[in-house]
Amino acid sequence: MASPIHQFVVTPIAPSAQMEINGIDISFTNSSFSMMIAAFICVLLLTLASRRGDMIPGRWQMFGEVLYEFVSKMVQENIGKDGRQYFPFIFTIFIFILTGNLLGLFPHAFTYTSHLIVTGVLSLMVFFMVIAFGLYNHGLKFFSLFLPPNVPWWLVGFIIPIEIISFFVRPITHSVRLCANMMAGHLILKVVVSFSVAAASMGVAWAALGIFPVLINVGLLMFELLVACIQAYVFAILSCVYLKDSVDLHH
């Protein structure tokens, strides 16, 4: 019974998939494999949904429309009128993370969002987009972001460092929140299951007791489903909130 962390080890899916270019290991790992599956599922579902755009939406089209309107309403509320240009980006991030999280609930599946490297890259992407669009839209006025309006003059010395720190902490908390939630959730599942395995290994009479951890796991999996959806939603909505700074600074 491997240690609970074993499920997060990134390994090439097959010995033949081991590739290396001058020392850099670019083998095709289970993480990239599950990312491809997630991307394939997203594309499949959404093309199914948008295939026949008839007025009376079929089941698949309703599914696509619900997702579209959910994210569109979120972008509309959080970034306002000229947030439309960010909608495709937020929609892609939301769907990619949601599919990743949900795929992770299946046994033997690999949740790529449980690795800090994946969530870190996503949140850094959002972070640099905020800076790039901020500078593009507002030029140097973008740095007035660090000085909120009508702050009493004697507080300015304190506010600016705090604002700068909170600006640079964003990608860290943004990525660690998603990664830790996914990893800890799956970890708890595995630890609880190892109780029933331990009970089973203690003899047949004790094995009957092994059913209770499995029942606990049913509840935990439902909670994991909730956490998976909420964390994808929170990642998307926080990306909207951060992008709002680059659209209109403080007003």
């Binding site: 660690v176 830790a180 939630n181």
Partner: protein
């Protein structure tokens, strides 16, 4: 203190923040229900940010568990 002992102690101490998250969730839901009980129209306003705040409080409880697990099993 050997590394092993320190690891196990760290693994045990990691569950304490969940106590804070539990308190936070309890207070949050209590205030949510009180607000709606006092004025049912606020339900629409509160529901906009409901899941966002829920996730923040939940994250504070789970991030330490993630870090502790990385310490303990890493």
């Amino acid at each position: 203190m050997e590394v092993e002992a320190a690891k196990l102690i760290a693994g045990a101490l990691v569950v304490l923040p969940a106590f804070g998250a539990a308190l936070g969730l309890g207070m949050y839901f209590a205030s949510y229900n009180n607000a709606i009980a006092r004025n049912p129209e606020t339900k629409k306003l509160l529901d906009e940010k409901f899941f966002l705040i829920l996730a923040f409080i939940e994250a504070l409880g789970i991030i330490p568990i993630g870090v502790g697990a990385a310490l303990l099993f890493g």
